[in-house]
C-alpha cells in the first residue's frame, strides 16, 4: 500500500513546465495552429466532411441495391467505385482520423493534465499531411477514369488491371499515394499521442489513474504505429507493380486473351501484409470507442467503472492479441489450410477479454443512478450493437463457419454493426458529452433525441436483417442481384426496405450536423462541468480551455478518475485534482 501524503503538505507542481508556442497572428492561431485543441477540431472537421462524402456514396449504392435497374447512371464501374471509396473513407479517413486525430488530440493533453502535446510542431504537420492525403483522395474522383473500384481491400491483381475501374488509370495510383501520405501524417500525430501519455502526465497522474478513454486511445495509437507500416509496405510494393512493372504481387496473367509482362508474384503476400494492418485496424477503431464508452457510462450512471483494473488489462490484452489473428480474414483465400486451426483459436480467444469488457459495462449500470442523457443513450446503443456485431464475429472467426458465410452479405452486416455502427454511436455520444467543453454550450436536447432514436433504431433495422440475406448465400459486392437465384423476391423487398432505412438514417445525420452548427451560437450555456464529472478536462479554469489548457499551475492529481458516489462524500463526484481523503469504508461490503 502506498503512503498517502497529507494534502496540505504538497508543494506546488514540480513537473517541468513546457515551452508553449505562442501564436502571433490569426493564421498561426487558427490555421497553422500548434495547439492540440485547434488541431483536434481541424482533424474532426475534415474527417466529418469526407465522412459525409462516404455517406452519400452509401446512399448511391443502396439506391442500386434497393431498386435495381432504376438508376441508369449507376453503372457497374460506378457501383464498385462507390463501395471502394465508401469503405476506405469510413475506415481510414473518418474513423481512424476522428478517434485518434480528433478525440486523441483534444482529450489526451486535457485528461493527463498537460499543457499541450509534447511535439506541437510535428502535431501540426500531422494534420496538414492528413489534409493533403484527403485532397489526393478527393482528386481521384476527378481524375480520368475516376477513383479506384478495387474494393477497400485493394486486392491485386485486379486492383491494377483494366477490368477494374481505375486499375490502369489514375484511380489506384492516387489511392495508394493518398494512403502513403495518410500513414506518414498519422505517424507524426501518433508519436505525439504516445509520448504525451508517457511523458506529459501531470504530477500524481499514474497510469492506473488514467481515464479509460486515454487508455483506449493510447493503446490504439501504439497499435496503429506498429500496424500502419504493413499497409505502407503493401502500398509501396503495389505502386511499384503498377507504375514500374515489378512482380511483387503479380503472377503470370492472361488478361482478355493477352499475356501480361508480370510473372511469379504472390497475391497472397499482399493479403498477408494488408490484413497484418487490417485486423489491428479494427481494434484501432474499437479500443478508443471502448475507452470513451466506459467513461460515458461511468459519468452518466454516477458510478465508478466496474472492474477498472480488468478493463485496463483487457485493453492491453486485446491490443497484443490483435496482432496474431490477422489471417482470419483469409480462411478462404487459399492460404495453407492448416493456418485455419491456429487463427481460429487465437480469434476466439480474443473474444474472452472483449466479453469481459461488455460485462463490466453492464455491471457498471447495476445499482447505478442512471441519468438517461443523450450520451448515455448512445452508450447503451453501443453496447447493443457491439454485442450483436461481436457475437456474429464468433461465426466468422470460427474457421469452418466462415466458409459458407465469407464474402456474403453476412460479413457486410457483421462489420458494419461492429466497426461501423458501434464506434460511430460512441462518436456521437462523445460529441454530445464533450461538445459543452469544446464550445461552452450544450447541444440541443430535442434534436439530439431525434438523432439518437432514428440513428439507433434505423441502423439496427438496416444491419440486423442484412445478416439473414447473407445467410441465404447472397454474395457481397454484387451490383446486380436479379440473376442470383438465392436472392428471392421477398429478399429483394427486404433489400428495398434496408435502402429506405439507410436514407432515413442518413437524413438524421444532417439534422445532427445542423445541431452541431446551430448550437455553437444558440445552445444552452453549459458552464465548466455540466455533467459533474471527475476527470481533469472538466476542471479547467476556462471553458473552452485556453491555450495551455490549465491556468498558471498544472493540476495535481490525488485520486483515480472514477470517484463517483463515494460513501461519505458530500457530492456524488470528487474531481481528480481535489485533495483530501473521503469516505472511510472504500472496500465494497
Amino acid at each position: 500500500m502506498v503512503d498517502v501524503t497529507p494534502a496540505d503538505a504538497i508543494p506546488p507542481a514540480e513537473v517541468a513546465e513546457m515551452e508553449l508556442y505562442h501564436p502571433h497572428s490569426w493564421w498561426t492561431k487558427y490555421v497553422f495552429s500548434q495547439d492540440a485543441k485547434v488541431i483536434a477540431i481541424q482533424y474532426s472537421a475534415t474527417a466529418t466532411a469526407i465522412g459525409f462524402v462516404a455517406l452519400v456514396l452509401s446512399w448511391l449504392m443502396r439506391l442500386q441495391l434497393g431498386f435495381p435497374g432504376t438508376f441508369d447512371f449507376i453503372t457497374p464501374e460506378a457501383y464498385y467505385q462507390f463501395i471502394t471509396m465508401h469503405g476506405m473513407i469510413m475506415v481510414i479517413y473518418l474513423l481512424t482520423a476522428l478517434f485518434l486525430g480528433g478525440f486523441g488530440n483534444y482529450l489526451i493533453p486535457l485528461m493527463v493534465g498537460a499543457r499541450d502535446m509534447v511535439f506541437p510542431y510535428v502535431n501540426m504537420l500531422s494534420y496538414w499531411i492528413y489534409l493533403l492525403a484527403v485532397l489526393v483522395l478527393v482528386a481521384s474522383f476527378f481524375a480520368p477514369g475516376g477513383p479506384t473500384g478495387a474494393g477497400w481491400t485493394l486486392y491485386p491483381p485486379q486492383a491494377i488491371m483494366t477490368g477494374t475501374p481505375g486499375g490502369q488509370d489514375w484511380g489506384i495510383m492516387l489511392m495508394l499515394v493518398s494512403l502513403i501520405l495518410f500513414i506518414i501524417g498519422f505517424t507524426m500525430g501518433g508519436l505525439n499521442y504516445v509520448v504525451t501519455v508517457l511523458q506529459g502526465r501531470t504530477r500524481g497522474m499514474t497510469l492506473m489513474r488514467l481515464p479509460l478513454t486515454v487508455w483506449g486511445i493510447f493503446t490504439a495509437t501504439v497499435m496503429a504505429l506498429l500496424a500502419f507500416p504493413a499497409l505502407f509496405v503493401a502500398c509501396v510494393m503495389m505502386l511499384f507493380d503498377r507504375a514500374l512493372g515489378t512482380s511483387f504481387f503479380m503472377p503470370a496473367i492472361v488478361e482478355m486473351g493477352e499475356q501480361l509482362q508480370h510473372s511469379g508474384g504472390s497475391p497472397i503476400l499482399f493479403q498477408h501484409l494488408f490484413w497484418f494492418f487490417g485486423h489491428p485496424e479494427v481494434y484501432i477503431v474499437a479500443l478508443p470507442a471502448f475507452g470513451i464508452v466506459s467513461d460515458l457510462i461511468s459519468v452518466h450512471a454516477r458510478k465508478n467503472i466496474f472492474g477498472y483494473r480488468m478493463m485496463v488489462w483487457a485493453i492491453i490484452g486485446i491490443g497484443a492479441l490483435s496482432f496474431v489473428v490477422w489471417a482470419h480474414h483469409m480462411y478462404v483465400s487459399g492460404m495453407h489450410p492448416y493456418f485455419g486451426f491456429f487463427f481460429a483459436t487465437t480469434t476466439l480467444i480474443i473474444a474472452v477479454p472483449t466479453a469481459i469488457k461488455v460485462y463490466n459495462w453492464v455491471l457498471t449500470l447495476w445499482r447505478g443512478d442512471i441519468h438517461l442523457t443523450i450520451p448515455m443513450l448512445f452508450a447503451l446503443a453501443f453496447i447493443v450493437t457491439f454485442v450483436n456485431g461481436g457475437l456474429t464475429g464468433l461465426f466468422l472467426g470460427n474457421v469452418v463457419v466462415d466458409v459458407p458465410l465469407s464474402d456474403t452479405m453476412f460479413v457486410v452486416a457483421h462489420f458494419h454493426m461492429v466497426m461501423g455502427v458501434a464506434p460511430i454511436v460512441v462518436i456521437f455520444g462523445a460529441i454530445y458529452h464533450w461538445y459543452p467543453k469544446v464550445t461552452g454550450r450544450m447541444l440541443d436536447e430535442r434534436l439530439g433525441q431525434f438523432h439518437f432514436w432514428v440513428t439507433f433504431l434505423g441502423a439496427y433495422l438496416i444491419f440486423f436483417p442484412m445478416h439473414y440475406i447473407g445467410l441465404m448465400g447472397v454474395p457481397r459486392r454484387y451490383n446486380e442481384l436479379t440473376d442470383v437465384t438465392v436472392m428471392t423476391e421477398s429478399a429483394q423487398h427486404l433489400n428495398s426496405f434496408i435502402s429506405i432505412m439507410a436514407f432515413i438514417v442518413g437524413f438524421a445525420q444532417i439534422v445532427f450536423l445542423f445541431n452541431l452548427i446551430w448550437s455553437i451560437r444558440h445552445g444552452r450555456e453549459a458552464g465548466g462541468n455540466p455533467w459533474r464529472a471527475t476527470t481533469l478536462e472538466w476542471q479547467t479554469p476556462q471553458t473552452p480551455p485556453a491555450h495551455g489548457n490549465f491556468g498558471k499551475e498544472l493540476p495535481i492529481v490525488y485520486r483515480w478518475a472514477y470517484d463517483y458516489s463515494v460513501p461519505g462524500a458530500k457530492e456524488d463526484f470528487i474531481p481528480q485534482n481535489m485533495p483530501g481523503a473521503f469516505g472511510t469504508s472504500r472496500e465494497p461490503a
Binding site: Q158, G264, K303, V332, P337, G340, L365, L391, P475
Partner: protein, 294 residues
C-alpha cells in the same frame, strides 16, 4: 424509460425475426451439413448471450434510472464475479471452437476416393477440366494459354491429352461421389461458390487451391463468383448440374478432350500421335462405366 422498453423489444423482435422470417439458408445439397450444424450451435450460444446481456441492461436501466435522491452504489470490482464470468465465457467459446475445428479438419482432408475436377476462372466466366481415362489431370501453366488452349494445358504432358475440357459451359457432376475441386485462375482472384454446397474457396492466379464435397442431391445449381474480380464480378455466373450416374455419363460422352480440341493444328502430324491417346469423351464414359460396374 422508453429505452428500457425498446431494449426488450429489440431482443424479442430479433428472436421473432430469426424464427419467423422467410429468410434462411437454401436447402443443402452436399455433405457439409456438419457446417450447418456448427452454425446452429453458434446461433444458440450467441443468441442466448445477446438476449441475456441486453435484457439485463434493460432491467438495469429500468430499475436504477435516476430519481430524486438516488445515489449509486460504490463498487469498484468483484474479483469473484469477474472470474466466474471469465470462466463461463471461456467455456462458451470452447464449445464453439471445438466442433468448428473438428469439422475444419474434415474440410481440409480430402478423402482418397475423391475425383479431381478442375475449375478455371477468368474474367468473367468459368471453365472446367475433368481427368481422362488415366484419372489424372495434365499439368498446366498460365503462360501456355492461347485461344486454342484456353486453360493453358501443357501440350507436352501426356496426362493432359485425354483431359475433358469444358470451356465456358455447364459442369456436370455425378451424385453421391466425392469430388476434389482444384481451383485455378488465369487472371485475377475469383471464388468458386455454390450456396447449396456450402463450401467455397478463392482461386489464385499462379497457384492451385482446393476444397472437396460430395453432392447429395441431383439438380441444377448456380455458381457465383464470391471474390471481387472487376466490373463484371456480379455477372460471373455458372451452372453445376448434379446428375444421376447415367445422365452424367451421357453428358460426358458428348464432351471433347484436349487432344480433340487442339487436333486441327496437329492434323499434319496426326500419325505420330498414338491413336489411343486421342480418347474422346465417349470412350472415357465407357471406361468409367465398366469401372463403375465392376
Amino acid at each position: 424509460m422508453a429505452i428500457a422498453l425498446v431494449l426488450v423489444l429489440i431482443v424479442v423482435g430479433s428472436v421473432l425475426f430469426h424464427f419467423l422470417s422467410p429468410w434462411w439458408w437454401t436447402p443443402i445439397a452436399s455433405n457439409w451439413d456438419y457446417i450447418d450444424n456448427t452454425i446452429i450451435i453458434t446461433f444458440w450460444i450467441t443468441g442466448v448471450v445477446f438476449a441475456a446481456v441486453v435484457l439485463f441492461m434493460a432491467y438495469c436501466v429500468f430499475r436504477f434510472r435516476h430519481r430524486e435522491g438516488n445515489r449509486a452504489a460504490y463498487e469498484p470490482e468483484s474479483k469473484r464475479l469477474e472470474w466466474w464470468l471469465t470462466v463461463v465465457t471461456a467455456a462458451g467459446v470452447t464449445a464453439l471452437l471445438v466442433p468448428g475445428l473438428f469439422v475444419w479438419n474434415r474440410f481440409v482432408n480430402v478423402p482418397s476416393d475423391a475425383t479431381d475436377v478442375e475449375v478455371v476462372g477468368q474474367q468473367w466466366q468459368w471453365s472446367f477440366r475433368l481427368p481422362g481415362k488415366d484419372g489424372k489431370l495434365g499439368t498446366s501453366d498460365t503462360r501456355d494459354v492461347t485461344p486454342e488452349n484456353p486453360l493453358g494445358v501443357i501440350a507436352s504432358d501426356p496426362n493432359g491429352q485425354d483431359d475433358v475440357v469444358v470451356e465456358a459451359a455447364d459442369l456436370h457432376l455425378p451424385v453421391g461421389k466425392p469430388v476434389k475441386m482444384l481451383l485455378r485462375s488465369i487472371d485475377v482472384l475469383h471464388d468458386f461458390y455454390v450456396p447449396e454446397f456450402r463450401a467455397k474457396m478463392d482461386m489464385i492466379p499462379g497457384s492451385v487451391t482446393y476444397f472437396w464435397f460430395t453432392p447429395t442431391k441431383t439438380g441444377t445449381f448456380q455458381v457465383l463468383c464470391a471474390e471481387l474480380c472487376g466490373q463484371g464480378h456480379s455477372l460471373m455466373h455458372g451452372v453445376v448440374m448434379v446428375d444421376s450416374q447415367e445422365d452424367y455419363l451421357a453428358w460426358l460422352g458428348e464432351q471433347q478432350t484436349f487432344a480433340q480440341l487442339t487436333a486441327p493444328e496437329q492434323t499434319g502430324s496426326a500419325d505420330q500421335i498414338p491413336g489411343k491417346t486421342i480418347a474422346s469423351g465417349q470412350e472415357i464414359a465407357a471406361e468409367l462405366e465398366t469401372v463403375g460396374s465392376r
